[in-house]
Amino acid sequence: MDFGFCLSPSSHVKMDSVDLTTFNRLKETNPDVNTCIACGSCTATCTAGNFTEMSFRRILLMLQRSKEEEAKKMIQRCMLCGKCTLVCPRGINIRKILLDITR
C-alpha cells in the first residue's frame, strides 16, 4: 500500500552476518587493537585526514562491521607519518597495524 511516504531503509549492520575474519586475524597479530578506546586522537592529528576523510578509528570500526572494502580504500590515503602512533594514549602501534592490513 502506498501512503505517499515510507520508513527509510534500515542502516544498521546485522552483526550476525558480519564476517570478522580480517579483524580477528588482525587481533591475533596485533593484540593492541583490543585496547583502543576510540578516543579519536589519531584522527585529529592525521596528516592525510587534513585533506581527506582518513581516520584510523573509523578503519577499525569498519573492519569490525566487515566493511573491508571501504577500510582498504581509506587506508590508501595514509602517509605513514606516524603522528597517530605518537599521540595514541594507549600506545597502540598504529603504523604497524596499517601496514599489516595492507599486506
Binding site: 593492541d32 592529528t45 596528516t47 592525510a48 587534513n50 585533506f51 581527506t52 582498504k72 587506508i75 590508501q76 590515503r77 595514509c78 602517509m79 605513514l80 607519518c81 606516524g82 603522528k83 605518537l86 599521540v87 600506545g91 602501534n93 603504523r95 604497524k96 601496514l99 592490513i101 595492507t102 599486506r103
Partner: protein, 596 residues
C-alpha cells in the same frame, strides 16, 4: 718423488686450498653476475677510474691488512686482529719471497716467481723441506710468535671480553666455533712441528688448515676473502637493491659477526633484544631465514649507528631497506587527493574541498626563507612558535609552508620500504616549494631534512636544518643572544648527526647561550631516543627501555636541561627525562637579547 720437496702431509692443505679457491671464484662470478646491468657497468668503470683506484688501494691496505678501524675502536682489539691476520699474511708473503730467492732446489725445475705456483705449499711447511737463511728464519719466527700472542688475547677475550672493550659478543653456532678452534690451534701446531719436526704435528697442522679452509665458506671467516671484493664494490658507489643478491650478498659474506654493533645498538640495552642487532640480522639473512630477517628488518630503529661503528663499513641499513621493500603489499597507497592542494587563490573556499596554500605577498625584496615544520613539529608547536620568533627577531623575510598542516615529506613511506609510493608527496612538496619563490628552505625535523637532502631536486634552494640556520643567524650577527648560566647537554638526533655529520653547528649555538656539558656517548656514538619512525615493530614498552637508557646516558654529567634538535626526540625524551627537555630553538628564544 723427491722427499725434499714433497711429503703426503701437504695433501690435506692442498685439498683445502683448492676447495676454498674454487668456492671464491664461483662466488665472485655469482656476485658480479647478480649485479644489475648498470651496476655492473658502474663497477667495471670504477676499477679503472684513478680516484677509485686510489681509494681501493688505500682501503685494501688500511682495512683488510692493517685493520685501522679496529685499532681506532680499541687498540688491544686492533692488535688481536692484526697480529693474527697481518701476521699470517706476512708469513705467507715472506715464505714466498724465500721460495723464489732460494738457490736451485733439488727436484724443482722452475725458478723465481713461478715456484709460487708449482710449489705453493712449500712456504707453509718450509721448515720440513729446507733449512732457511737466518734473516728469513728470524722474520718467520717473529711473525709466528706475533700470531700466537694474538691468539692468546683471543682466548682471553672468549672468557672475558671486556678486556678488549667489548661488553657483548656474538653467540656462534657449531660451525663457527669449530672453525675458530681450528684457527686457534693451527699456529701452535705449526710452532711445535717446526721446532720438533715430529711428523704427527705436521699432519695435525695440515689437517687443521684443511678444516679451516673447507669450512671457511660456511662460517663468518668468509669475510677474509669477501671483504676485498666488498671494498671494490663499495667504492664503485653501489647500493644494495635486493636483500640476498649481488652487492648485498657480498656484504652478507663480508660481515665478520664481530659483534661490535651489538654493544652499539640501542636495542641491546635489553639483553634479550640483542638478537635484533645487525650482526645477527646478517647471519640470519645469509642463512636464508627470510621470515626472521623480515622481523628484524622491521624492528630496527634505523639509527645508523651499527653502520658507523662497523669495522668493515657494511651498509646494514640499506640491506634492511631492501628487505623491507621485498615484501609484497596487496594494497598500494593512493595519494592522488593531494591534487586538491594548490597555491592558486581561486581555490580557497572551494566547496569541493580544494585547499589553497597561500604564501605571503612579496613585500620585501629580501630573499625569502621558507620554513617547513613537518608532521612531527606540528605535534610540538612550541618549536614552531620559537622559530617564528627567531625569524621575526632576525628580521628575515619568511614564510610558512605548512602553517595549517602540510604534506608529509615522504621519509616515513620510504622507511617502510615503499619508495615509489612516496613520490606523490615528494612531487607535491617540490611543487609548493618552487612556487613559493624562496631561496632557502629551513626544516625543524631531521627526518624531513634527510629526505629533502637525498630525494628532492630543489635546485637553487639551500636546504638547512634549523640548527644550521640559527647558527648562521647568530654568526652573521642578525640574531643577538646572551649567555646564560644553565648547563645544557645536547642530544644528537640520528638523522642529523650520523646521517649528515651536523655535530658542530648545534653545539656552537648552545655554547653561545649557555654552558655545554658532555653526554657519556656523543656524536657518532649518540644513542637513539627510541622514538624513531624507522621501527615498525617495537612496542611502546620496548621503546621506553631504549629511551630510559638514552636519557641516563645524557644525564651522565648532571646537566640542568637536555637540548635536542628533533621534535621526535623532544617528544620521546619528555616522557622519561628527570630534567626539562627543550628544542634548540626554544633555548635560543629564552636567551635572546632585548636589544635585537
Amino acid at each position: 718423488m723427491n722427499n725434499n720437496i714433497f711429503h703426503p702431509f701437504v695433501l690435506p692443505f692442498v685439498l683445502g686450498m683448492a676447495f676454498v679457491l674454487t668456492y671464491c671464484v664461483v662466488g665472485l662470478i655469482r656476485v658480479i653476475w647478480q649485479l644489475p646491468k648498470e651496476d655492473r657497468k658502474q663497477f667495471l668503470i670504477s676499477l679503472v677510474t684513478p680516484k677509485t683506484i686510489w681509494a681501493n688501494i688505500r682501503d685494501l691496505f688500511g682495512d683488510c691488512l692493517f685493520h685501522v678501524k679496529i685499532w681506532k675502536r680499541n687498540p688491544l682489539l686492533g692488535y688481536m686482529h692484526s697480529s693474527i691476520a697481518f701476521g699470517w699474511f706476512m708469513i705467507i708473503v715472506i715464505g714466498h719471497v724465500m721460495l723464489f730467492t732460494l738457490k736451485p732446489l733439488e727436484g724443482v725445475e722452475v725458478e723465481g716467481f713461478a715456484r709460487s705456483f708449482t710449489n705453493f705449499y712449500y712456504p707453509i711447511f718450509y721448515k720440513h723441506f729446507a733449512t732457511e737463511t737466518p734473516v728469513f728464519a728470524f722474520l718467520m719466527d717473529f711473525f709466528l710468535l706475533m700470531i700466537i700472542s694474538g691468539i692468546l688475547i683471543a682466548v682471553v677475550k672468549k672468557i672475558y671480553s671486556k678486556i678488549v672493550g667489548v661488553k657483548r659478543v656474538t653467540k656462534f653456532g657449531f660451525a663457527d666455533n669449530m672453525v675458530r678452534f681450528a684457527l686457534w690451534t693451527i699456529f701452535p701446531f705449526r710452532l711445535i712441528a717446526e721446532k720438533s719436526n715430529i711428523m704427527a704435528f705436521w699432519w695435525l697442522y695440515s689437517i687443521d688448515l684443511m678444516i679451516f679452509m673447507c669450512m671457511l665458506p660456511f662460517t663468518r671467516y668468509m669475510h677474509i676473502p669477501t671483504e676485498a671484493l666488498f671494498i671494490l664494490l663499495r667504492h664503485a658507489g653501489l647500493k644494495a637493491r635486493e636483500p640476498r643478491k649481488g652487492f648485498a650478498l657480498a656484504q652478507l659474506y663480508s660481515c665478520p659477526s664481530c659483534g661490535l654493533c651489538i654493544d652499539a645498538c640501542p636495542m641491546s640495552v635489553n639483553d634479550q633484544k640483542s638478537g635484533n642487532t645487525s650482526a645477527y640480522f646478517m647471519k640470519i639473512l645469509r642463512n636464508g631465514d627470510m621470515a626472521e630477517a623480515q622481523r628484524i628488518a622491521e624492528t630496527c630503529l634505523m639509527c645508523g649507528k651499527c653502520v658507523l661503528v662497523c669495522p668493515v663499513s657494511i651498509e646494514s641499513c640499506d640491506i634492511k631497506f631492501s628487505q623491507r621493500a621485498a615484501v609484497p603489499y596487496e594494497i598500494h597507497s593512493d595519494h592522488s587527493y593531494l591534487d586538491v592542494i594548490s597555491t592558486e587563490a581561486e581555490h580557497s573556499g572551494d566547496p569541493s574541498g580544494a585547499r589553497a596554500f597561500t604564501f605571503g605577498e612579496k613585500i620585501s625584496t629580501k630573499p625569502k626563507t621558507l620554513y617547513f615544520a613537518g608532521c612531527m613539529t606540528q605535534l610540538t608547536p612550541k618549536i614552531m612558535r620559537s622559530m617564528k620568533q627567531i625569524m621575526e627577531t632576525a628580521g628575515e623575510n619568511y614564510d610558512f609552508l605548512d602553517k595549517d598542516g602540510g604534506v608529509c615529506c615522504g621519509r616515513p613511506m620510504i622507511l617502510s620500504g615503499k619508495p615509489a609510493e612516496a613520490q606523490a608527496m615528494i612531487a607535491k612538496n617540490t611543487e609548493l616549494i618552487k612556487q613559493s619563490g624562496a631561496t632557502k628552505l629551513v626544516l625543524s625535523c631531521p627526518i624531513c631534512y634527510k629526505v629533502f637532502k637525498e630525494e628532492y631536486h630543489l635546485e637553487g634552494i639551500e636546504i638547512l636544518h634549523h640548527t644550521q640556520y640559527i647558527d648562521e643567524l647568530v654568526k652573521t650577527g642578525k640574531l643577538k643572544v646572551g649567555k646564560g648560566e644553565v648547563n645544557y647537554v645536547y642530544h644528537d638526533p640520528c638523522e642529523l648527526g650520523r646521517a649528515f655529520g651536523v655535530y658542530d653547528e648545534p653545539r656552537e649555538v648552545i655554547e653561545n647561550v649557555g654552558n655545554l656539558v658532555k653526554a657519556k656517548s656523543e656524536k657518532v656514538e649518540s644513542i637513539c631516543c627510541g622514538g624513531s619512525l624507522g621501527s615498525f615493530r617495537l612496542t611502546q614498552q620496548e621503546r621506553d627501555e631504549i629511551t630510559q637508557n638514552s636519557v641516563d646516558d645524557l644525564m651522565f654529567n648532571k646537566p640542568d636541561e637536555i637540548v635536542t634538535a628533533c621534535p621526535l626526540c623532544l617528544k620521546t625524551f619528555s616522557k622519561k627525562s628527570p630534567v626539562a627537555v627543550k628544542d634548540i630553538a626554544e633555548v635560543v628564544v629564552e636567551n635572546l637579547q632585548a636589544n635585537n
